[in-house]
């Protein structure tokens, strides 16, 4: 169906059908194949979202949802065509309740705008992705963001007090305490099973998020960074496991681990005269925040624990990279590094901290197999376990065919090494389908909530041909 025909009945909305405008909606930052949307709708409120969902359901047209479009797993790519809902115009902060410690926002609010609004109140939110200037809260919830806050809170879903979601049949569902009329958002798991979780990290497979309630977190009074160097990955993994076991992450706002190659690259770039043989084989970096006493005490305890694992402070890497990443150039610097070649494919998985060495070994094996690409590995420390990021730098013009194969191969290798798909989108669809019991329950949920299979077909491996869930076309 043409975009214009699809737009019949939706004329009061902001719609885009011109192919020049649709180009921007074909893909996110990933190497997942782009799609070809026919129509983009940019709703201003939940009623307009409902109108688009109804339209998609009536004509069984696939409907994809997009926030900032910065995901790296293809969740926004409309590979079955159809309609894309661009949520960016739903960008109001609906409620700021300092007494309850809750902020309720529309899904299109960008983290940059949210943090700016909260700062005068001395508040922030639990998780902020590094892409904060453009990433939306709705996108972060639906892609299950991580980043600043992961050591304290784990991931985005752990910071959500409840959601408002529009389902395929038009039901407007409020989750958490807000399910009870008049109670408002303040807690999860009150009534029984908490339905919020079905929509967290769901990549729009089960509904469209139209409001998000987040718990507020006071801004720390003092911040400080600490970088610790270890001889190798195994010692660093044991150290991180010990840190988590002692709950030493309570005052850590961000923590990441960098393999020796990354440390070498950053150090020799900043100080060409430095002797690579003297550099640590792995660095674990902490961004601490809290009361001055607590930060000082945790810093001392981290140093002590590192020493027990053969590690020690390695301030040079802190100065040339980590501190800049966290303070001076924050988001900017990470982008500049990531895209130093042409573009960078990012594959994110979860792993237990004691598997750090296995994760790095799996990346090394890919590195050897696909030596034309530049590979990098880094981990984000969570409250428990790690998020392991694999970065593959490639030339978008010449290497598109091979990069997709390399990344798909890396995904298989990571699962074989005991890692778990994270931010699944379409990138991890094949691996999710291999988890038979889990994916069959996902499929049954999908059939119940979206029987026509119009919502984001392909994401989470659902709605693909032969899956049994409704086919969109």
């Amino acid at each position: 169906m043409s975009g214009t025909a699809l737009g019949h009945g939706l004329e009061s909305l902001t719609l885009f059908t011109d192919p020049v405008d649709l180009l921007a909606y074909r893909r996110d930052c990933s190497v997942v194949a782009p799609g070809e949307p026919e129509l983009v709708a940019r709703p201003r409120d939940a009623e307009e979202v409902a109108a688009v969902i109804a339209r998609a359901g009536r004509d069984r047209v696939p409907l994809y949802v997009r926030g900032g479009g910065s995901m790296y797993a293809g969740g926004v790519n409309p590979h079955a065509g159809g309609i894309v809902l661009d949520m960016a115009a739903m960008d109001r902060i609906l409620e700021l309740d300092l007494a309850r410690g809750i902020v309720v926002v529309e899904p299109g609010v960008r983290f940059g705008a949210l943090l700016e609004a909260l700062a005068p109140h001395g508040q922030t939110v639990g998780i902020v992705p590094l892409t904060g200037p453009t990433a939306t809260v709705g996108g972060a919830v639906s892609a299950h963001a991580l980043g600043s806050g992961s050591p304290r809170h784990q991931s985005m879903g752990d910071c959500v007090a409840g959601l408002e979601v529009l389902l395929a049949d038009g039901t407007r569902l409020r989750t958490g305490s807000a399910a009870c009329a008049g109670a408002g958002f303040f807690q999860r798991y009150c009534i029984g099973p908490d339905l919020t979780g079905i929509f967290l990290g769901a990549d729009a497979s089960f509904g469209v998020v139209t409001a998000v309630a987040l718990w507020l977190v006071p801004l720390p009074a003092v911040r400080d960074t600490l970088t610790l160097g270890f001889a190798g990955t195994a010692a660093a993994g044991d150290f991180v496991t010990a840190v988590q076991g002692r709950e030493l992450t309570r005052n850590v706002w961000y923590a990441a681990g960098y393999e020796g190659g990354t440390v070498r690259a950053r150090m020799t770039q900043a100080e060409p005269a430095c002797d690579p043989a003297t550099l640590p084989g792995f660095c674990v970096c902490f961004d601490l925040g809290g009361d001055a006493d607590a930060v000082a005490a945790d810093r001392a305890r981290l140093l002590e624990l590192a020493a027990a694992h053969g590690g020690a402070e390695y301030a040079p890497f802190d100065a040339v990279y980590f501190r800049r990443l966290r303070y001076d150039e924050s988001y900017w610097y990470s982008f500049a590094g990531y895209f130093s070649r042409s573009r960078c494919a990012i594959l994110m998985s979860s792993l237990p901290s004691d598997r750090l060495a296995g994760f790095i070994a799996a990346v090394d094996a890919q590195r050897a197999q696909w030596s034309d690409f530049m590979w990098g590995a880094a981990v984000v420390v969570c409250r428990r376990g790690l998020h392991g990021g694999v970065l593959v730098f490639y030339d978008e013009r010449r290497e598109w065919e091979t990069i997709t194969k390399a990344v798909d191969g890396a995904a298989d290798a990571l699962v074989a090494a005991g890692c778990v798909p994270y931010k699944s989108g379409k990138q991890w669809a094949a691996q999710v389908r291999e988890m038979h019991a889990y994916s069959s329950v996902l499929e049954r949920l999908k059939r119940a909530l979206d029987p026509a299979g119009v919502l984001a077909p392909g994401n989470l491996g659902l709605g693909h041909p032969g899956s049994g869930t409704g086919s969109a076309d």
């Binding site: 011109d18 192919p19 921007a24 940019r42 700016e116 200037p133 895209f339 573009r343 030339d395």
Partner: protein, 383 residues
Amino acid sequence: MSRALPLPAWFDERFGADLYHCASCNYCVDAVWPERGLHHVCATLEHHSPAPGYSGRGFIDTARALLEGVALDAGSVAERVFTCTTCGNCETSCPIGLRPAAIGGALREVLSAADVVPAPVRAARDRIVERGGTSEPAAGPWQAAAATPGDGVAIFAGCAARADGGAATALAGWLAAAGIAAAWQDDGARCCGAALAELGAVREAGAWRDGLNRGGVPRVVLGYECLNHLRAGGDENASSLLAWLDDGLAGGRLALALRDDVAVPRVRLLESCQLKPRPARALTDDERRARELLGGLGVIDDAEGYPNRHALCCGAAGGMPDVAPESASRMAAARLGGDDDALVLTLDGRCAAHLARSSTHEVTDLASFLARYTRLSRAATGS
């Protein structure tokens, strides 16, 4: 109708790396990044249409599609790339230093060569060609034959000596009161072609620029758009009024003070997009100079706090007032904000004229401001 619009080889040579380097991160479309003073990016998206084809990223996506032979409606492409203020916010906010605004400009050039130009742009260009500049020349001292500068100052007034010629007239009086001879170059109001270049007529604009008398003389160029155009053509002798003044003050040859016979109002300094440090442009240091100069005179009290480097464009440039006049007015109103009664000072005369046209605020350009509120003199001890 959709058709392949082939891009010439120079396009790929100049911009191919940008097209394949773009990370689709959307910082140039919309971003809020308080630490860097970024509160939304693109005036066209905010005040004309939110369709991404109008954004910096849109230009990159479009150019890449064209390079790969995708058939797009050339009229749609033209409508989008010609409805851009050329402000460059998309470039200054790109985290990896790509040049979406310059790519938009290059697309204008390609579309012009293919004769796919929106009617208002064509009409605006015709008017410029007919008048020999952006508006009719004004009468003033610049019409006298150019003298050699001696220890005075050579000036290329360009558009500032057209329409009411206010800025050039003010400058002439200010210099004369200081006993500084002004040697007006190129018949005073000759057009350097910058406005044509901006509208995609790059070849014609180059010819107009080449027709100017450069004469190897250092000279002050009043409009920043003209200055950027002349510099882009390799004219090393072109500099700004602020640079000349700064140089004279720093070298002890000139002295500047507030006039004691006129009350100086509270001033709000707005940046001009032409001064943005963009990858495709020679940097000008005038934003800093203006803040230091005006801060030193006590005219602005928060010299560090503004202007805002990423403020949304006022809509004066890029042909916006011709292509989409209502959007251009909305941009101006949004740029000026509520009912702050401070005198709005913008370094570029074109922004000042557009802002004044579109609002009830009192707005002035730098030359007019200096002439009205300051006294320039040759320093007694100057070397």
